[in-house]
């Protein structure tokens, strides 16, 4: 084991550091972006924003059930980090998973339809808003229990290392997850075994309605807990896409080249409540605070200004992109609305691999006899 301790004294000033966008733009990792790629990243962020806005409307219309955790305000986190991934890099996140899903390339239609509980959804209506998956895009969810996905992400990294692949896993969590035991167990394993995993804390300042000051013994910096495990760590301004890319790039390099984990804390902000059902979203934080982020720190506005300044994008183009994203989200809602609900029989499908694949291989069937399901509700009687 070759733990590299990075002694870094955290100062509060760094927390919302005024990073210099122009300096960040000069970094090789951002320089290498073509104009098209920059516009693509901007477009992805706008698409997430519009998708979430449309989801909220559908929820209010009663089309979406359960919980709806929106990603508005955090777009640069998912888009910036995922923009750096290659074929052997993987992603796993918590329940605020729409942004990551769109960023890895899942379609609005399948995501919206999933929330509508439709058969055309990415999980055939079996997972809902919190449980999007796309293993073909190296996207492993979408997990509902706070922090529960972090050991899984560590395991994905373990498999990559075992298989001799030069890949890594980005394992995202919210700031509320940092006090879960499973997260710390995963930290220890990742550092102990030199695993290529990057733990990304998307710190939106509130774990549901509880601020860090009320939930964490050392709220000044959550990433710094990495030091207890001999891991490198860094903080990121999540409103600046270039900063997200710059810091994540360093972590990915460390994972690929040294097979070492990193903890990144991305300071970000969610405009909506913890979920749409969060009745107190404007009580545990002030309206002024929310307005300040929207007006002065919005990641999409900041990127738009930067790209316009660089001459990569015009305001007119930006408006067109927004319009197109809005139309795409509206079309996704229509697609979801028109899609059929799954047939009743599908309640039992996808429970066991061996049931779903019965008849494919007699040798496997021979090893899987007997009754698997003990109540079918009579759905096969008709």
């Amino acid at each position: 084991m070759t733990a590299k301790k990075k002694s870094k004294t955290y100062t509060k000033a760094e927390r919302w550091q005024d990073v210099d966008v122009h300096e960040l733009a000069k970094l090789e990792i951002n320089q290498r972006l073509s104009a098209e790629e920059k516009i693509r990243l901007f477009t992805d962020m706008v698409r997430i924003r519009r998708f979430e806005g449309r989801s909220l409307r559908s929820y209010q219309e009663g089309k979406i059930g359960g919980f709806l955790h929106l990603y508005e305000g955090q777009e640069a986190c998912a888009v910036g980090t995922i923009s750096l991934l290659g074929a052997d890099d993987h992603v796993i996140t918590a329940y605020r998973d729409h942004g990551h899903a769109l960023a890895v390339g899942m379609g609005m239609n399948e995501c919206m339809a999933e929330m509508y509980g439709k058969h055309t959804g990415c999980s055939k209506g079996k997972g809902g808003s919190m449980h999007f998956f796309a293993p073909d895009k190296n996207y492993w969810g979408g997990h509902g229990i706070v922090g529960g996905q972090i050991p899984l992400g560590t395991g994905l990294a373990y498999a990559l290392k075992y298989q001799g692949k030069k890949g890594c896993c980005l394992a995202y969590m919210g700031d509320g997850a940092i006090n879960q035991g499973a997260v710390h167990e995963a930290y220890n394993l990742a550092s102990l075994w030199d695993l290529p995993v990057i733990f990304i804390i998307e710190n939106n300042a509130y774990s549901m309605g509880t601020s860090q000051a009320r939930s964490s013994a050392y709220p000044e910096c959550l990433a710094q807990r990495a030091e207890a495990y001999g891991m490198d760590w860094d903080t990121v301004n999540g409103n600046i896409l270039y900063d997200v890319r710059a810091k994540t790039y360093e972590a990915i390099k460390r994972a690929h080249e040294e097979s070492r984990p990193t903890v990144l804390e991305i300071f970000t902000y969610r405009y909506r409540g913890h979920s749409v059902a969060d009745a107190n979203a404007e009580k545990y934080r002030s309206k002024d605070e929310i307005a300040d982020y929207k007006e002065n720190k919005d990641p999409i506005t900041l990127l738009r200004k930067q790209l316009v300044e660089e001459g990569v994008l015009t305001e007119e183009q930006a408006k067109e992109i927004d319009k197109a994203a809005n139309a795409e989200a509206t079309a996704a809602a229509e697609f979801a609305d028109k899609s059929p609900f799954p047939p009743a029989e599908s309640i039992l499908e996808d429970t066991y691999w061996s049931m779903d694949n019965k008849g494919q291989d007699p040798a496997i069937d021979e090893l899987n006899q007997g009754r698997f399901i003990f109540e079918d509700g009579g759905i096969f009687d008709k």
Binding site: K126, F133, G141, Q163, A182, L192, D350, Y352, F372
Partner: protein, 324 residues
């Protein structure tokens, strides 16, 4: 046939599957350099090295979750709980991630993991170390649960479990580890969901799983010798999938049933079996079904009292005599 211990049979299964498939690795507390807390993995680290035999820190939620994540990418991890009693600190990983990820993804992913270890009382280790969670685990659709009662089954079921594409929880028994059975020398697999008649009989069916099957078998022998009652003993071998046909068949043959298990009685495996029998073979019953479970209190430490708490042949015989 070779006469080998239950422990050796599991070790042989692990060794054969590690040698057969490069994606198989064994991970758990003290499984490698220490040779296994119960010596089930003795010698495997020397033979297969660090990559295939991995010592994990005492961190069940972390390493079980890690194994599940690795299995999503095509690995076939065999995770050891030193005791299944330690599963509770990893329950979120086992049950939310292990059993439900395939379902919640609409079948896009698989979790081909094996989680194994002893799950039994009777060793004077108190309530925290004497859990039998087969009923709790089998309550979660998506998981397969097997409880081998003897060495031959332990080997055959373990190999099947490792090759299976679903999560399989194998519950062993420390009181069986040192006992010997005849085990085939050639390679073999035992199907899940296929019960085994340990003894043919006509007067009553003793249905059981895990070590309960051995207790039932001992009781059956004595019933024959001492009471002239010819009991049939059906060993379920796997809890989920469940060989319902074999259960109904023996009920129809003998018309009387006693279920024997170490589970505590409330919502035990036996509860489920009895529910199925009354629903699907009610007309074939000549007497109420009886059950022999561990006495319904947290597991006691005191040696002679724990002997009373877990099922033994005397208690089985007593229940049989109530309905025969």
């Amino acid at each position: 046939m070779a006469l080998i211990t239950y422990r050796q049979a599991i070790k042989d299964a692990l060794a054969e599957e590690i040698a057969r498939d490069p994606n198989v690795f064994v991970m758990g507390e003290e499984v490698a350099q220490y040779n296994g807390a119960y010596k089930v993995t003795e010698g495997l680290w020397e033979k297969f090295g660090d990559k295939r035999m991995v010592d994990a820190p005492i961190s069940e939620a972390g390493f079980i979750g890690l194994g599940i994540g690795a299995s999503m990418l095509g690995m076939r991890p065999v995770m050891e709980f030193m005791f299944w009693s330690f599963c509770y600190v990893a329950f979120d990983q086992l049950l939310n991630n292990g059993s439900f990820c395939r379902y919640m993804s609409g079948g896009l992913m698989n979790v081909p993991i094996v989680v194994r270890g002893p799950a039994n009382g009777g060793t004077n280790v108190g309530a925290t170390h004497s859990h039998t969670p087969e009923n709790l685990c089998a309550n979660h659709p998506g998981i397969k649960v097997v409880c081998p009662s003897n060495a031959a089954d332990a080997k055959g079921l373990m190999k099947t479990a490792i090759r299976d594409n679903d999560p399989v929880f194998v519950m062993e028994n420390t009181l069986l580890y040192g006992q010997k059975w005849e085990v085939p020398e050639e390679e073999y697999l035992i199907p899940m969901g296929k019960a085994n008649i340990l003894k043919e009989g006509t007067d009553i069916s003793l249905i059981a799983h895990g070590r309960g099957a051995m207790t039932a078998l001992e009781a059956a022998k004595r019933l024959e010798e001492e009471y002239d009652i010819n009991a049939e003993v059906l060993d379920l071998r796997s809890i989920r999938p469940l060989d319902v046909d074999a259960i109904l068949e023996t009920v129809k043959k003998t018309n009387r049933v006693v279920y024997v298990e170490e589970n505590k009685p409330f919502s035990s495996v036996g509860s489920q079996i009895i529910s199925i029998i009354q629903e699907e073979a009610f007309d074939h019953l000549d007497a109420p079904i009886k059950r022999v479970n561990s006495i319904d209190a947290p597991q006691i430490y005191s040696m002679p009292l724990e002997k009373i708490q877990i099922p033994d042949a005397d208690r089985v015989i007593k229940k049989v005599l109530e309905i025969c």
